[in-house]
Symmetry: C2
Subunit: 383 residues, 2 copies
């Protein structure tokens, strides 16, 4: 039920010693063809990690035969030396597989500003090549975990073709992706331009609407590969729908496993003049620490919803906005609504519904609460 | 050393029962003239509280004889009824003092979305009027505290004239002011336009550069009153300098008392193409939860500084940025610099110096860390 669910893909995950824990930390996904079509979406952070710089170049041609991924180090902000490490890694994978380095993408995750121990990584790559198998997707998913508590995988079935995927990410979830590595595979026949368009659409309505803590990573990478092994050529709509389903499934798994979170919060802004307005208002709530701490404390503090939206330029009138939390309209016309005591926040799922009454568009942003465990995990992460 | 340090001002603070703790919660500051010049700066939040709506109208004429302030309730998002409560409060003050309601500003702080108990507030106002005195400034400072642990006051001496001030605020500190109420007084002779310009300048380089938790309040209010009682007419530069000194003093007190904070963090961005760029980059750091939690954990995680700046549109090249934390240049040219082990973060003060090497401008943003106590205080605030 992973990247090896579609035909013609092999994968592996091994422990190379990058993590002091001894847990698996090198993953490899190989496309055995016949096609080698690929597409990708990367972080928009202006300090892209070395593997992002490398993989962007590789993916420019929309052709890919392998992706090597490591946890235990982001290889970000490591200068020309770090880029050389990524290049060496790709060359090593290529040599082991008998392909070109320009057909190998690299993705890394872990601490920023630390060089990778190449004396461990390269033997790990060799070991991963030796372990490649048609059911290695789960091992690959495990090897890319950092603070994730569970591996994230997905599979979506078409008529005679399949989309599979693995993901990691449990913090820094934010717009323009998360510290998130995703590899999607499909055995459908998909032209490069179509795959890129479908992937961009799929990410825009899934991971790009997850804003767990507003922090944008230097390493976010989503790569999709299509090898045509099924011989089936689905329509544009079918490909887009399958990739969107896969990315949404993975995004919700990331949300559910966000560092220290105790709530999954869906903020739906409706009655907006535009989707952009709805997203802006939703994101302002998702990034408001006072709202997020209140929800951690099971406090339906609708005043903090308004205070957050009040910082945006979305179209609305202050005396027209309604806020409903888990079914109770606690704010009407920008003022006191039904009793807040009626709101049950004891479960993990929270639905905040904001009606701007300024139009007909809507959008949902997903976020988490801000918990004591989040602070603890992130203050202790690198020490 | 407060609003009653300048000549011709009286103040008082009393417990009216708005707070369940029984602590003081109503403050009054009265200008006995001869001039009644005033200026103000208010929150830019698009859900301004009822007292903000009221006081904006009152201050439009730049004349003011009294300010009544309450803690224990923000009177925000309370609709037309809340505005009527504010109006009634101003009328009551005016009647007690024998002045017009249009000469009375109102400021409130506390929970959003709850009506004020007028049956307690109005008798409190009466009691405050009875207690007005030329040394009542400290009592007034105490009566506006919410989660503040100490009252905030300031005094700045000119040649024959004085500026005094009180402030509250210990959370939601953010650009365009904080949940912050400030009253400044001076016995200098200052024309209305000059007072407004000087106050705007003073706030722009002080409280507007404090960004404790990125949350913008519905109630922020800074009011300055000048009564000319000293007979001294300082220059524009002298007035601006004194107000700036007073506001900076108060801003640093707010920072030091921010909810749950264990660090005061000064983020100076230099080598910027513009002051706006420096502020944008500094603010991105101040709002990055991963950086703030790292600093709480005494972790000089410069990678998170770059990741934060990398989300902005400030002018810089990724391989040109240096980061110095408490004197150690841990990042050079966007890559690994001196050993992070050399950084001592054990004290409360942290200086992060970012050199964008893209120009000659600089600016400092002040913020706090994100601590377990912050989450605890803000999740428990209204429950």
């Amino acid at each position: 039920m992973t990247v090896t669910s579609p035909q013609g893909f092999r994968a592996a995950g091994v422990a190379a010693g990058l993590k002091t824990s001894g847990n698996p930390d090198v993953a490899l996904v190989v496309n055995d063809g016949p096609d080698d079509v690929a597409a990708a979406v990367f972080t928009t952070n202006r300090f892209p990690a070395a593997p992002v710089l490398w993989s962007r170049q590789v993916l420019a041609a929309h052709r890919l035969k392998a992706v090597v991924l490591n946890s235990g180090g982001a290889n970000a902000c490591t200068g020309p030396e770090g880029f050389a490490d990524t290049h060496t890694t790709a060359e090593h994978v290529a040599a082991e597989l008998g392909i070109g380095a320009g057909e190998v993408a690299v993705a890394s995750t872990g601490l920023i500003g630390v060089r990778l121990p190449m004396d461990k990584l390269l033997p790990g790559v060799t070991a991963a090549v030796a372990k490649l198998s048609a059911d290695g997707g789960t091992a690959a998913a495990q090897a890319i975990m950092t603070t994730d508590s569970v591996p994230k995988t997905t599979v979506q079935r078409g008529e005679g073709w399949t989309v599979g995927g693995i993901a990691k990410g449990a913090g820094m979830l934010a717009p323009s992706l998360a510290t998130m590595l995703v590899v999607l595979t499909t055995d459908a026949v998909v032209p490069p331009a179509l795959l890129q368009t479908a992937l961009a659409q799929a990410t825009s309505v899934s991971v790009e609407r997850v804003d767990s803590d507003g922090c944008l990573s230097t390493n976010d990478t989503v790569i999709a590969m299509a090898n045509g092994a099924s011989g089936v050529t689905p329509t544009v709509e079918e490909v887009t729908a399958a990739l969107t389903a896969a990315m949404t499934d993975l995004a919700m798994q990331l949300l559910a496993d966000a560092e220290g979170s105790t709530k999954d919060i869906a903020i739906t802004v409706r009655g907006a003049a535009s989707v952009a307005d709805a997203l802006t208002a939703g994101r302002a709530c998702a990034r408001n620490n006072l709202l997020k701490t209140a929800l951690f404390g099971n406090d339906p503090n609708w005043g903090r919803v308004l205070a957050a939206i009040g910082t945006t330029d979305a179209a609305f009138e202050a005396d027209q906005v309604d806020v409903t939390i888990n079914g109770v309209t606690v704010c009407r016309n920008g003022a006191i609504g039904d009793p807040r005591e009626g709101v049950d926040l004891s479960g993990r799922a929270i639905a905040i519904d904001v009606d701007l009454r300024a139009g007909t568009e809507e959008a949902t942003i997903w976020t988490n609460d801000l918990s004591i465990a989040y602070v603890h995990e992130n203050s202790a992460y690198s020490t």
